[in-house]
């Protein structure tokens, strides 16, 4: 495995491998891999003595090493493909596959479901072997005969695969590389596994055996076999499920301890503002404060990653946010939301992204014509800062210095930002609303100042379209993802990325910072979600279950749960702590492009191309979590797909919902471009 990794990355574009990632994530398994790699190295260099010694010490048998004999150092595609080399009679493949199918059919029902998981990878690899060995005719017949039997959610991949009918086509095909470069992971109960093993050994079907040995990774667990529903819930990724080990690492999902904010300011203001109710609020406030003051065991250390220091302005911001939060209304099962919809008019160029600032005062829209527009959602117009010469004259000690330095003559409802040379796929505000970060098809990420409304920095790292970018909630950092399958962490003051998170097998479509800024989560077209630790760049969670590319992600305000949605029209809720899938929320009919948790985390709003905003009952999911379940045994984990989770659906006339945002008071803001029939889109 370790040997194949470089190949995989070598074929992906311009990616330096973050080697630490693999090792840490896959503890004992990767240890073994490392050992094997060393053995192979010794063998290659004819250091027989050392090799034997190591073998004996590690307890590794010869046949364990054999499968790995394919030259590990070779990153060349043709060599990697050589794994498919086989001298077998092409006509055998069909027989073997049929035989395997029959065997699975004949199994007991409990095992049948699990065992049938094997069929898809076996089918794919058999086909590829046939193609590689230039049995084109057989390959096509084989494909036609069995492709229809595969699961629906694999059909996209199969479509792609079906175009590969020649050896030459295998080169450079992304999906092909994924298949040949990695193992397809299947979780299976021990009983089922033994069943399969016995059968294979009895039949001695060499090609089949080869494939299962070389290209499949069967993750065996002790316990009853999983039900069909359980399997369906977590399958769907390009390369099967996640390994159990992949999610073992501890994740500090708790929120960072709030820094001490000088409360006097707040109390003062509050007492001035509300005389009668101040007492009540204090009572309310105190428990909250004490709670936050406590050390959350799941929270990372404040200094786990370096964060910028809080400025006075940020503190003021915190205070206003806090005060707003006190007036928050509930949104949930018994408290339906109030939704304000902002329709983007005359968006002829096609809106490719929409973002609403945390305090709901600004909205940024990226357009397909490479422009960005920032709109003010409050009566306050958008203004430029005065020019430097006139700034000098301002008293910097004045309380309203921020106000003074703005030039009222430049006030307008919206500002246009020009700089990109391709559709702007993401434009997001920093939490302090001083900056805007945007990513575009032109492969650049740009930082914009919202004081001067100009471009400050252009970050060039991705050579391919950058699909998404996001500011850290604490500022300073931002993370960008793109078609090059890598997520990059940047700080605004460096022109080169600080970290690169590599591991996705396909485009990374979306990215989100964890509320404590220690993690980023990425969703990809390989139908997986990965959570990366910023500190060391490791992938700490691998979440499988989506049946289509993941387009949007959202954390609950407390950082424990993650919601994701995408092309498969499902909204999935994950527990970050355990990496398990909690709920599957079905109801959308088109791609979901926006998600947002209520400020109290009880409800989740989702919206997409089907022109509707749907509200999901998250409180109920959390309530119904089976705390008894042993996470280590996949069959004991159940996914909540209760249709009652859908609280309400609100339809717009014809406007897709591209942005959702709960204000601090829990008013839901939704936004999207008005679709003017057909003609307006470019």
């Amino acid at each position: 495995m370790a040997g194949q990794t470089p190949g995989m990355f070598g074929s992906s574009r311009n990616v330096a491998v973050n080697s630490t990632l693999q090792n840490e994530a896959k503890s004992d398994f990767s240890d073994k891999q490392t050992l094997l790699a060393v053995l192979q190295f010794l063998k290659k260099n004819n250091l027989k003595g050392t090799e034997d010694l190591l073998k004996r010490e590690a307890g590794i048998k010869d046949d364990d090493v054999i499968p790995q004999t394919a030259p590990p150092s070779e990153t060349d595609v043709s060599h990697a493909l050589a794994a498919y080399k086989s001298a077998d009679d092409p006509s055998l493949y069909m027989d073997h596959y049929t035989d395997l199918k029959n065997f699975i059919e004949s199994c007991l029902d409990v095992h049948k479901v699990e065992l049938s998981m094997v069929l898809y990878p076996v089918f794919v690899h058999m086909y590829l072997e046939l193609v590689y060995n230039e049995h084109e005719r057989h390959a096509i017949i084989f494909f036609q005969k069995f492709s229809i039997e595969q699961e629906d959610y694999y059909q996209d991949d199969l479509n792609q695969l079906s175009t590969v009918t020649k050896k030459e086509h295998m080169k450079g095909n992304q999906l092909m590389e994924n298949f040949k470069g990695s193992r397809f992971v299947i979780k299976m109960s021990r009983d089922s596994y033994n069943h399969l093993k016995r059968h294979l050994q009895e039949k001695k079907m060499k090609p089949l055996l080869n494939i299962i040995q070389e290209h499949l990774f069967i993750d065996v667990f002790d316990g009853v076999p999983r039900s069909k529903q359980q399997i369906q819930a977590t399958s769907g990724a390009v390369l099967g499920e996640n390994e159990r080990d992949a999610n073992k690492a501890k994740v500090f999902y708790g929120l960072l301890k709030e820094p001490e904010i000088n409360m006097p300011v707040e109390e003062e203001e509050e007492s001035v503002e509300v005389t009668d109710k101040s007492k009540k609020k204090k009572v309310k406030k105190d428990p909250l404060l004490t709670k936050k003051a406590k050390n959350d065991p799941h929270a990372p250390q404040l200094n786990r990653i370096p964060l910028p220091e809080m400025k006075d302005n940020d503190k003021l911001e915190k205070i206003t946010a806090y005060r707003e939060a006190l007036r928050r209304v509930k949104v949930g099962r018994d408290h339906p939301p109030t939704i304000c919809f902002y329709t983007m008019l005359n968006s002829y160029k096609g809106v490719t992204s929409l973002d609403i600032a945390e305090d709901s005062s600004l909205m940024a829209a990226g357009f397909a014509d490479s422009t960005i527009r920032v709109f003010s959602m409050t009566p306050q117009p958008l203004r430029c800062m005065k020019i430097a010469s006139s700034l000098e004259g301002i008293d910097k000690e004045a309380d309203d210095v921020l106000e003074r330095m703005m030039d009222d003559r430049t006030a307008s409802d919206s500002k246009l930002l020009l700089g990109h040379s391709g559709p702007v796929y993401a434009a997001r505000f920093s939490r302090d609303r001083k900056y805007l970060i945007s990513s575009s098809e032109d492969g650049t990420v740009r930082l914009w100042s919202l004081f001067t409304w100009t471009n400050l920095v252009c970050y060039k790292g991705h050579n391919h379209p950058v699909w998404d970018v996001e500011f850290s909630p604490y500022g300073h950092y931002f993370v960008s993802v793109g078609q090059d399958r890598v997520a990059r962490l940047w700080s605004t003051d460096h022109h080169q990325p600080l970290r690169m998170f590599a591991g996705h097998l396909s485009d990374v479509d979306c990215v989100k910072f964890h509320p404590n800024s220690n993690y980023v989560v990425t969703g990809s077209s390989d139908r997986t979600i990965r959570l990366w630790d910023i500190l060391n760049g490791n992938c700490v969670r691998l979440l499988t279950g989506h049946k289509g590319s993941v387009q949007v992600l959202a954390f609950t305000p407390d950082g424990r749960f993650l919601a994701s949605a995408g092309v498969d029209c499902m909204v999935l809720l994950w527990d970050i702590a355990s990496g398990t899938l909690l709920a599957q929320m079905k109801g959308h009919t088109e791609t979901v492009y926006s998600l947002c948790f209520g400020r109290d985390g009880a409800a989740l709003a989702s919206g997409g191309l089907d022109c509707s905003v749907k509200l999901w009952d998250i409180a109920r999911v959390i309530q119904e979590i089976d705390t008894e379940a042993d996470i280590s045994i996949p069959s004991s984990v159940n996914v909540n797909d209760n249709p009652k989770l859908l609280l309400e659906s609100y339809s717009t006339k014809a406007t897709p919902v591209l942005a959702l945002h709960f204000t601090r008071r829990n008013l839901l803001i939704a936004s999207g471009p008005a679709q003017i029939p057909e003609s307006t889109k470019t």
Binding site: T163, M363, L609
Partner: protein, 892 residues
């Protein structure tokens, strides 16, 4: 190669599933690029590879689509995918509009239908792109406290319509009915309305569309009385609108839907104003009225009835619901105006517009139809006069429009006459307000309010009469109006007049006192004397005319042609008039011959004419006496149409002047001394014979009306109409509506001619009627043709020989236009009236000047002809014809 072939044979379904570029295509492309030596093998390999690359690029392009958050793949996306694969993007296809593939005919080649761009216009900056509008955000509440705003049930169908096709979840609910149009309707109804109402809706719609007339009647009855269907109204209205449009090919269906409208409108429990129900209803009905319906293509479909009904219904709706706030009246009138002014529309639309205007009342008629008539007339005439076979259908339609217009003009005239009557009422103390009120009491439908207004109106005219100046405007306008209309409609209009007068006469009692006055004047010996004097004057005038004519003849040879045309027309006219007119024809022909002869020998003709004129004058005088006798029989109603006659005559003929004088005196009396009329009444009976005198009275009266009074005067006429209930179309609200409901056609017919039947018995006109019956029969069976034939010559005359008229007038030293002519007259009248208490004095002064208002001459002619026919006297008719001819000739 072999593999490839195998693939083909083995895997056809696969090939169908994925587009494949065949080696033939490759070879074709290669040849186009100049490579002819491509082997089969190479082509096959290339083709396979190209299709693989294409698929790969397509796959990548979908990624761009997904991230642009769209559902539609664009060329832009594909170009980006190409760029990613280091392939040159393909330019020229990133069209802002969606690309439409069109098949050739036969459809084996599909191509991009792209508009050609004119480079020159681009270069010359002629092409100015539209301002796409500023990108902006607009906020609205999608939901408040969980209550969805956009789909709230309180908003009936409109928001759904705005949404276009129903949303998916709505599609699940299928209507009970089969037709898709109302299946969708039913769907939405289901969501918002209770079960029983839903059923009711189903039943009503089914009944309306069904063929069971009994059920339809029941349904409509219920619809017009049921108070519980209020929540259904918007849906019913939408149903009506969609159904009207959907079934424009089926007149009976549309009529049924209109019945539904009728039922809804007459339901007293419904309030239609909100939710734009009303405007939708009006739109639906206007659609029936004004659109060139598919049904009207087939002449066998009687869409005219439908249009009449729609016009009636529209008027009813507007009467009930129109208010200055909702602008419905304004909008409707505007739409009619647009249709009428658009000459490209078929005649059936124009017919609808005219009928609609007619039903909306005289004000709109005057404003729109009459003002537009000069422009419209040539268009209509062109269609009517085109006798080509292909034009048959259009011609028939044009006749319909003609009929409708004639009817409207008649209606307008009636209105005028009614106003006159009111004046008469004022003048006559014998007709007190109480009388009218009594009538009101008798007819249950009339409200007390109306009687009050009547009082008010009556008072005002009284005041008006006091300030006499204003009174004289109206007769003038009436006269000019009549003249104007006569120019268009000719005799067919005149034919109507006696009928109109009859109708008005129903209230004849009102007029009795007037007659008395006139009679008094007539009876005065001085009046007779003045007549003689006038006659002498007239002779002189004739001479002058002749001189003028001669001059003209010299000047204008062109007139001859016109004369020919006239002759032809008149011939036609006479043919249609049948035997009634035969005598007249002969004379006309003789006259024409004489004219021709005159042309050759002017001197001869002069003498000839002089002789003839003398004759005519004599005959007239004799006839006057005779006709006066007849008039006695004819009663009071005659006056209306006669005044015109007299004016015409007075122009030409001296003998009639005395009557004019009487009239004027009449007016003076009415102005100043109402009391005197009573005293004179006794004389009336004796001297009434010159019925003409009575007519003249009427003419002068309207002149006293102020335009302002018009509106008010309408109401008294209403009452009168009710009193007599003879006149169906006078009042919109009452009896004629009832008729119209059942058979609009009849209504129209009734309007156009058959008044006679009703009233003939009550009035001496019965006489006439019996004699005229051939006429009437004609008019009934084919009123349009009849009218047309009668009118056209007159129309021509009036149009083509303006010179003669004016010249004639000039010769008389009176202004050209009727108004001008009248003004001095009126002023003089006033003066004279003020100066002298006695009519006698007045007569003398005014006679010569009063002569000018010729406008009515042609009417006079026709009406006299009728009347004379009616009375059985042929001679007067012929005489008049002569007179007329001589006059026409003389200007020439």
């Amino acid at each position: 190669m072999t593999e490839k072939e195998e693939k083909r044979t083995l895997a056809p379904p696969d090939e169908r599933r994925y587009a494949i570029i065949t080696k033939e295509t490759i070879r074709l492309i290669a040849e186009a690029a100049g490579h002819t030596d491509i082997t089969d093998e190479a082509a096959a390999v290339l083709g396979e590879d190209v299709s693989y690359r294409l698929r790969e690029s397509t796959h990548y392009s979908t990624l761009y689509m997904k991230h642009a958050k769209r559902k539609k793949l664009t060329t832009e996306d594909f170009n980006k995918a190409l760029k990613q694969s280091d392939v040159q993007p393909i330019h020229g296809y990133n069209f802002p509009e969606p690309l439409t593939f069109r098949p050739t005919n036969p459809p084996d080649i599909y191509f991009l239908d792209e508009a050609e761009v004119s480079l020159s216009s681009l270069a010359l900056n002629e092409y100015v792109p539209q301002n796409p509008g500023e990108t902006s955000i607009k906020s609205h509440w999608l939901a408040v406290e969980g209550v969805s705003k956009s789909t709230s049930s309180s908003q009936p169908p409109l928001p759904q319509q705005a949404m276009g096709t129903a949303k998916p979840y709505r599609r699940d609910l299928n209507g009970v009915l089969h037709k898709p149009e109302y299946a969708t309707r039913v769907k939405s109804v289901k969501q918002e309305i209770t079960e029983p109402l839903q059923k009711y809706y189903d039943i009503i719609t089914n009944v309306t569309l069904g063929s069971d007339t009994e059920a339809l009647k029941m349904g409509m009855r219920d619809l017009s009385t049921n108070a519980q269907i209020v929540p259904l109204v918007p849906h019913l209205v939408t149903f009506i609108c969609t159904e009207v449009r959907a079934s424009s090919y089926d007149v009976s269906q549309m009529t049924k839907v209109l019945h539904m409208v009728k039922a809804l409108v007459s339901n007293p429990y419904l309030y239609l104003e909100p939710h734009s129900c009303l405007s939708q209803l009006v739109q639906g009905v206007t659609y029936c009225l004004l659109e060139p319906l598919a049904a009207s293509i087939n002449p066998r479909n009687d869409h005219w009835v439908l249009r009449d009904y729609a016009a009636f219904l529209l008027a009813q709706i507007l009467n009930i619901w129109s208010s200055p706030i909702n602008h419905i009246m304004m909008n409707t009138v505007r739409s009619m105006k647009e249709v009428l002014y658009d000459h490209t529309k078929p005649f059936c639309c124009h017919y609808g517009a005219v009928m609609g205007l007619l039903n909306l009342g005289s004000k709109t008629l005057e404003d729109i139809l009459i003002t537009h008539l000069p422009h419209y007339w040539p268009h209509l005439m062109a269609a009517i006069e085109d006798t080509s076979y292909s034009n048959m259908a259009t011609k028939a339609d044009a006749h319909k429009v003609y009929g409708a217009m004639l009817q409207s003009v008649e209606f307008l005239l009636l209105e005028e006459i009614k106003k006159n009557k009111k004046l008469v009422d004022e003048i006559n103390p014998a007709l007190p307000v109480e009388k009218v009120e009594k009538v009101d009491d008798q007819s249950n439908t009339v409200k007390v309010e109306e009687s009050i207004t009547v009082k008010g109106i009556k008072k005002e005219p009284m005041e008006v009469t006091a300030g006499s100046s204003s009174n004289k405007d109206l007769p003038k306008s009436f006269a000019t109006f009549y003249n104007d209309m006569y120019e268009y409609f000719g005799d067919s209009l005149a034919m109507k007049l006696p009928l109109l007068s009859e109708i008005c006469d129903v209230k004849g009692k009102v007029f009795l006192p007037k007659k008395d006055d006139k009679l008094v004047s007539l009876s005065d010996p001085e009046a007779m004397k003045s007549g003689e004097e006038l006659w002498e004057e007239f002779m002189e005038q004739v001479k002058i005319q002749q001189k003028l004519d001669r001059e003209r003849m010299e000047r204008e040879r062109m007139q001859r042609q016109i004369d020919y045309e006239k002759r032809e027309r008149e011939r036609r006219l006479q043919e249609e008039h049948h035997r009634l007119m035969e005598a007249g024809k002969k004379r006309l022909e003789e006259i024409r011959q004489a004219e021709i002869a005159r042309e050759k020998e002017e001197m001869e003709r002069l003498e000839h004419e002089q002789r003839r004129n003398k004759k005519i004058a004599e005959q007239r005088i004799s006839k006057m006496l005779q006709s006066d006798d007849e008039d006695d029989f004819e009663d009071e109603f005659v006056p209306y149409h006669k005044p015109k006659r007299f004016r015409q005559r007075s122009m030409v003929q001296y003998s009639e002047l005395p009557e004019d004088a009487d009239v004027e005196m009449r007016s003076d009396i009415s102005d100043e001394e109402q009391g005197s009329s009573a005293s004179a009444a006794s004389n009336v009976d004796l001297a009434v014979k010159p019925g003409q005198g009575i007519k003249l009275k009427i003419i002068t009266r309207p002149g006293k009306h102020h335009p302002n009074i018009k509106v008010k005067t309408l109401e008294p006429t209403h009452k009168e109409a009710k009193k007599t209930s003879h006149h169906p179309h006078k009042t919109k609200s009452s009896p004629h509506n009832v008729e119209a409901k059942h058979s609009p056609h009849h209504q129209r017919e009734a309007k156009s001619s058959p008044h006679l039947y009703k009233e003939s018995k009550s009035s001496p006109l019965a006489y006439r009627e019996s004699k005229d019956s051939p006429h009437q029969r004609e008019s009934k069976s084919s009123p349009h043709i009849y009218r047309e034939s009668k009118d056209s010559p007159h129309y021509r005359e009036s149009k083509h020989s303006p010179h003669s008229h004016s010249a004639y007038k000039e010769a008389k030293s009176s202004p050209h236009s009727h108004r001008d002519v009248k003004d001095p007259k009126h002023s003089k009248r006033k003066k004279s009236g003020q100066k002298s208490d006695r009519k006698d004095e007045f007569e003398f002064e005014s006679d010569p000047e009063d002569v000018p208002p010729f406008s009515f001459k042609s009417h006079h002619y026709s009406s006299e002809g009728e009347s004379s026919d009616g009375t059985g006297q042929r001679k007067p008719l012929t005489l008049k014809l002569k007179v007329k001819d001589s006059r026409e000739i003389s200007p020439d």
